[in-house]
Amino acid sequence: MAKYILKRILYLFLTLFIIATITFFLMKMLPGTPFSNQNRLSPDQLAIVKAQYGLDQPIFIQYIRYIGGLFQGNLGTSFQFNNEPVTQLIGQRLAPSMQIGAQAMILGTILGILLGAVAAIRKNSWVDTLATFVSILGISIPSFVLAVLLQFYLAYKWHIYPVALWDNFQSSVLPTIALAALPLGNVARFMRTEMVDVLSSDYIELAKSKGNSEWQVVIKHALRNSLIPIVTIIGPMAVSTMTGSMVVENIFSIPGIGEQFVKSITTNDYPTIMGLTIFYSFLLILVFLVVDILYVLIDPRIRLGNGGND
């Protein structure tokens, strides 16, 4: 097990290194720098600024420096935002993103599990139809469309929540709902399929034959067995939540990294784009790693090696 985790961590760094390298050279291929469109600097001034950012060095030296910096946890310095180090930018803006991201994933997962489970237990009833309808809406309607609609009705028209503001929990409600729809839909769908499968399995019938009531069967046997595979969709869920957060943060003016990323794209702030790309990749690969380990830990069939063939 320890060996497996170590191997995965090694892979993580290898992948990050590849991503960093590709990102670096892609960025260098881009024509122009952000300075060229900034207050017409004289050639001398431009040279000074370039030297300040180390842009006067050969590309290879720049690359070595950049990668070296990465190992020390330095993601470079932003061209915008008062020349702040990118790591500092991330530090300041991580909390709001994490908050709405985590809230959305937790809310979506819990509601999705409940909806999917009830739909499976009451298969082909109106609850099932409703659950299917809700999950297809959650999956289909892009988070930014939902965000815009929520903003218009709940904030602008009915004044229940702030339109665009970031201070207290209240202001995180709408972005959370907008982001939770997709995980909710996915989890509900997945849960329903899993649970229908589990409920028709032989061991559920055996559990019934033991004298368990319908709900005892669900709670003691069906839920646990259907919940284990849910773990596998946490990774993709994190990816989609991250994607969604970029626009949703923008729509609700939340000072998070998603909003930062979009801003740095539109202002050609390459160090920030690069830094955030690497940071995002790190975060997601880490989530996938944790999920894989978690899965091994909670499923007894995997935990004990390749048993079952004895």
Binding site: L26, M246, S281
Partner: protein, 339 residues
Amino acid sequence: MEIPQIPKDKFKLLNNAGNKEQEKIGTPALTYMQDVRRRLFKNKVAVVCLTLLTIIVFISVFAPIIAPYNPNAQHATLSNLPPKLGNLNIPGFNGYQNMGGKMVDAYAQVHAPKGTYYLLGTDYLGRDLLSRIIYGTRLSLIVAVLATLVDLLIGIPYGIVSGWKGGMTDNVMQRIVEIVSSVPNLIVVILMMIILKPGLISIVLAIAITDWVTMARLIRAQTFQLKEQEYVLAARTLGESSTKIATKHLIPNLSSTIIIQTMFTIPNAIFFEAFLSFIGIGIPAPNASLGTLLSDGQKAFRFLPYQMWAPAIILSIIMIATNLLGDGLRDAFDPQSSD
């Protein structure tokens, strides 16, 4: 127990032995595709979605004929007009607008020529929204279809080769797939968009470059299974060429996987296009796509909500219909997958 009274002649042996009728199979056999079609058309939701999508595709294909105005023609004087449906007085579609608490005929205010009406109103440059939505949908669909095609062109051969060759080739090809898929999709797409010039081709490439991996994986897994099937083994033993085996035996058997996966790639591509355009690095102005229309609509929605509604609804309908149709197809191809 009493013994029932039965006429004696009923007790004659029928001599059933060797009766061939017994081995007859009752129901006529359907081919696989007939069966799939029958199941698909029995699924009402799928049929409704298929119809909706057909209509949308039809309108998009014939956009130049159907759109009432040039989607990029600007009329500075006729900007931000609310929807008006002829001279019919339907609330919400009568050209009236709430201005300072009073309903005002916006068309009269700007002295629009008589007989001028915009079904879904106009945007801030006085462009007809309906025409823009029709053209925008067309563009979004083109992006989706092209991205899916590129996706198929890379993913299917890659998957087949990887699965068919196996061994070292497969190993190397799978490591590449692993690395590509360990980078978050969106980041690759965004990086591609920054590097390439904004535009249709860039979006298509950016989406396809990340999407083919899923297809390649599915196809590889299936090819692996098919390779071991007796009829493929038989074809190999008979010395059929690899290309012939691929086209004659593999592709037809992979078709269900391909069709189903395609139905999930299309909404994904539509989503990415809208997403990129929404954050401003997608389709460049003045062309409209569902993403740019939504982005424009969002900026103005406090005062002119109609500008946001139409693209939001169309985008949602396309997404819902493709997803549901995908579900329907999956159930039709593989009846066991649905409970």
